[in-house]
């Protein structure tokens, strides 16, 4: 029997400050990049390199028999009035280029954009020979300003709604604190991934949003596996501290965490390597997301949950002391509440086991 992690005993929570510091630093990097780019526009960049899906504009995919230089294409397009064309070669296909035209004007301009983009590119490229002969337009994406804004708002709303849905589910299955901790961790993963997209100016398209939502699901998965174990261990070892139980649970599930994340990582990696240009943004977002999703369930979700639960317990205890003093009653309300939660967990757990 091959075993990667046998009887690991790492005190994860002891390093919680370092973990959280690293995460905050990463998020600050991403935020810094976004803010800096939005204000200063170095090389004309913005906070995010938004794709046509969100910004509007036209992307035409052209396959050439004999690919002219990017300059030649740009000049040919300039002659027909497509002024700010961006010519982007496709990495794994030397004969194919993406021609990107920004959105012209606002409001009614969006109309011309969607109607004209393809025709304009075609007119420009006819300089190199007739279509189907010298070149071929194999794909177009043209999105007007209105549709772009619509898609963007929808994407943000969808991600937030999914997070709320997950929060509700975990709160229902575990406790509010667990749900909140898991959602904070997932939010962190999304922010870190977006930070990477801002720093490296990878294009944010609709598929990247799909990747972010997948990442939300995946990262919560990972967190739940750990939380599930904590819930189980709390039932089995009543006298242990939450701190120790959490550490033990992370260690017990560690080999599963590493294997699963490794496998998902490998399948996503094969998407990055073999999935082609269209899926690149999607697979890159997942690659980063899977890495940080795994990290955050150990390094972010668990410490936050422990901290929160401990604070609640402290608050309960001091409240109990206060009531004791006031009413001179022997039974402490803290004990009572903790006892009832214990029984509740126990009975619901017993039903499932």
């Amino acid at each position: 029997m091959i075993q990667v992690f046998k009887d690991v005993n790492i005190d994860w929570l002891a390093n919680r400050r370092i973990f959280i510091a690293i995460s905050i630093l990463l998020m600050l990097f991403g935020l810094g990049s976004a803010v800096f780019r939005q204000w200063k526009h170095p090389n004309g960049s913005e906070a995010f390199n938004m794709g046509v899906d969100f910004k509007g504009g036209t992307v035409v995919t052209v396959k050439f028999k004999q690919r002219p230089s990017a300059e030649a294409i740009r000049d040919a397009l300039f002659a027909t009035g497509a002024k700010d064309a961006i010519i982007q070669p496709v990495t794994d296909k030397p004969d194919t280029v993406l021609i990107k035209l920004p959105l012209e004007g606002a409001g009614e301009g969006s109309q011309t954009q969607v109607d004209m983009g393809r025709g304009r590119v075609k007119n420009g490229l006819d300089k190199f020979g007739a279509e189907h002969d010298a070149y071929e337009i194999i794909g177009t994406d043209a999105v007007g300003a209105v549709a772009g804004a619509q898609l963007r708002n929808k994407a943000i709303a969808t991600t937030l709604a999914a997070l709320v849905g997950i929060l509700m589910y975990i709160a229902f299955r575990f406790e509010w604190t667990y749900g909140a901790a898991a959602v904070i961790a997932v939010f962190h993963d999304v922010l870190v991934t977006l930070g990477f997209f801002s720093i490296f100016q990878w294009e944010v398209s609709l598929t990247v949003i799909a990747a972010l939502l997948t990442l939300v699901g995946f990262s919560v998965n990972d967190t739940i596996v750990v939380f599930d174990r904590i819930r189980e261990n709390r039932r089995l070892h009543r006298r242990e501290s939450l701190y120790k139980i959490t550490n033990d649970s992370i260690n017990q599930t560690l080999s599963r965490t590493i294997i699963t994340s490794g496998l998902v990582f490998l399948s996503v990696l094969s998407m990055v390597l073999f999935g082609g240009e269209v899926l690149r943004g999607f697979s890159l977002a997942l690659l980063i997301g899977v890495t940080f999703g795994t990290y955050s369930s150990i390094a972010i979700a668990s410490p936050i949950m422990v901290w929160w639960e401990q604070r609640l317990e402290l608050a309960n205890r001091s409240a109990a002391v206060a009531t004791n003093r006031d009413n001179q009653r022997p039974s402490s309300s803290a004990k009572r509440t903790s006892a009832t939660t214990e029984t509740r967990k126990q009975s619901s757990g017993a039903g499932r086991a």
């Binding site: 969808t158 999914a162 997948t214 490998l266 390597l273």
Partner: protein, 565 residues
């Protein structure tokens, strides 16, 4: 008892597997020998799975119906009608003011004598009948204000969108686009229509066709009658000046592209010459409009050659109107107006009943297209394109290839690892994984869901996530074994304990995928579908099937010393 249970499970799994196989690679016709060869299986697979536009190639268009134009036109038309109603009854009206700012449609009628307001209101009601009942009217001071309430606005906008959708459908049908999909897009209030046309690579012509307003009107041109030549103006200002500077509600100033007769040498007129515009003043409203059309066809012009014109015929109602009007207006000039541009002007020689023609310099295709859009009826409002995506077949095929390649490599990585790490149990997991793949394809076919490129990504991701359930179970069994449990009870406990976690993890992922499905569009929905399907099937394959395989292994020997895990 245990044996019987095992047998039952085996039968269920066998039936599901066979059904899955049949749905995926079974031909939908009487099977021939060819269907069992590799290429045969490939063709059946291709015809069974419904590919999205991004894989199959085609055009995806999102358009918005500019419904505010409908409301604007209605307000203007009703304002004219109200004024006319009052004047017909000899009621004094100082001013009729239509207002059409966004979301606010109002007609204000100011009377010189406030005591006559009720009578004006009554006259308008008589003249317009039901048309006016959707307006709210109120009298204050010396004005009556008709306002269009928001509910009526949205009803009218909704009707216009539905009508536009029907017209688009009939145009697509007439032009012969194969298997088009026309449906509403986005929220109800966004008045968007989505059109998907598989196989259409260069949508320019179809786009023009769909967009063509094709508003045909036959109008009375304001001019001294024949034999004097028709009254035209060389600029718009000049035409307006003839009306005293402002255009009254019952007149319109329209451009008139005069038809250039071929020159003596038979040279066709140049484009420049054709663009030379004149202006004419016409009466409003039109005598008849496009809604009265019965048929429209492209026919060769009398001169023959490459010049075409449109011959049209009117419906009985329109023909009657047109007949009585032409009968009463012999020698007057009549204009054919297409999309607010006068195409031809001719004097009326005799009563015309139902035939007419639109001459102009049409090529065969432009005449055909125009006739087609005329037949399908005028769009109730202009449309604008908001999104256009085209995928050529080569790009689609490329996407399929890279998608399949990425899935295969992902699958190989996972299979090799599982076999290496878990040995005997790894085989178990691999069987479950393969079954998952097959059932997922079967599910896509059964629900006739569309497989898109993000959908393929969903499949790849499912490979990774599906195996997670097996990992969870196997790790748990190993743990139980380490605590010294017997093999059967370790397996039992392992499944029971891991099951709770599996349910929780699946539900959360399904929650986020559902949001993607509900809010997402097009290809993204495909992703959500494969992911949800994969996860649901995973509960069967990774839990039920894996468990059965373990049970089968345990039942083979009376006393099991070791478990390969």
């Amino acid at each position: 008892m245990k044996k019987k249970n095992l047998l039952q499970r085996t039968i269920i799994i066998a039936i599901v597997t066979l059904l899955g196989f049949y749905v995926v690679i079974g031909p939908r016709h009487r099977p021939t020998l060819h269907d069992f060869t590799w290429s045969g299986i490939k063709t059946t697979l291709a015809s069974n799975i419904h590919l999205g536009l991004d894989l199959k190639g085609g055009t995806h268009l999102v358009m918005r119906v500019k419904t505010d134009e409908v409301l604007k036109n209605l307000t203007l038309a009703d304002a004219i009608a109200i004024e006319k109603a009052a004047k017909d009854k000899g009621l004094p009206v100082k001013e009729v003011r239509p207002e059409t700012s966004a979301g606010n449609y109002r007609i204000t009628v100011e009377a010189t004598d406030p005591s006559k307001l009720a009578e004006i209101q009554e006259a308008a009601k008589q003249k317009l009948g039901g048309d006016l009942s959707i307006w709210n009217s109120s009298i204050s001071g010396n004005t009556i204000v008709w306002t269009l309430p928001p509910s009526a606005q949205s009803t009218l906008a909704e009707q216009a969108t539905e009508q536009a959708q029907r017209i688009i459908e009939s145009r697509l049908d007439a032009v012969g686009v194969a298997e088009p999909l026309v449906q509403r897009h986005g929220s109800q209030a966004s008045h968007q229509i989505l059109v998907q046309m598989p196989g259409i690579q260069d949508p320019e012509r179809v786009k023009q066709l769909l967009k063509a307003e094709s508003k045909l009107e036959l109008v009375h041109v304001v001019s001294p009658p024949s034999p004097q030549s028709v009254q035209t103006y060389s600029t718009e200002e000049e035409a307006k000046a003839s009306l005293g500077g402002t255009v009254p509600p019952n007149r319109r100033v329209l451009p008139y592209a005069e038809r250039n007769e071929p020159t003596a040498g038979g040279q066709p007129a140049t484009d420049e010459a054709q663009k030379q515009k004149k202006w004419v003043v016409v009466e409003s409203p039109a005598v008849v409009d496009g809604s009265e059309l019965r048929s429209a066809n492209a026919v060769q012009a009398q001169g023959g050659g490459d010049s075409y014109q449109i011959a049209f015929a009117l419906k009985p109602n329109g023909a009657q109107k047109f007949g009585s009007w032409t009968g009463a207006n012999i020698n007057e000039y009549m204009g054919v107006v297409l999309n607010d541009e006068v195409k031809s002007v001719a004097y009326i020689k005799s009563q015309i009943n139902d035939q007419g023609e639109i001459s102009g310099r049409f090529t065969k295709q432009s005449a055909d297209d125009l006739a087609l859009t005329l037949r399908s009826g005028a769009l109730p409002a202009p449309i604008e394109y908001q999104e256009e995506r085209t995928v050529g077949p080569s790009l689609g095929a490329d996407s399929i290839r890279s998608g399949v390649r990425a899935s295969l490599f992902g699958l190989i990585f996972v299979v090799v690892f599982m076999l290496f790490y878990y040995r005997g149990a790894g085989v178990n997991a691999v069987v479950a994984l393969m079954l998952n793949m097959i059932l997922m394809l079967a599910g896509l076919i059964i629900f006739s869901a569309t497989l898109t490129l993000p959908g393929i990504a969903g499949i790849i991701l499912t490979i990774g996530m599906a195996v997670d359930s097996n990992v969870l179970i196997f790790e748990r069994i190993r743990e139980e074994l380490r605590t010294g449990k017997t093999i059967p009870s370790a397996v039992e406990q392992g499944f029971a304990r891991a099951f709770v976690t599996i349910i929780d993890t699946h539900v959360t992922t399904i929650i986020s995928s559902l949001f993607l499905f509900v809010f997402g569009t097009g290809p993204l929905r495909g992703f959500a579908v494969t992911l949800v399907l994969g996860l649901l099937i995973n509960l069967f394959s990774a839990v039920y099937v894996s468990r059965t395989i373990f049970m089968w292994e345990l039942s083979r020997k009376r006393k099991l010393e070791s478990l390969s895990i």
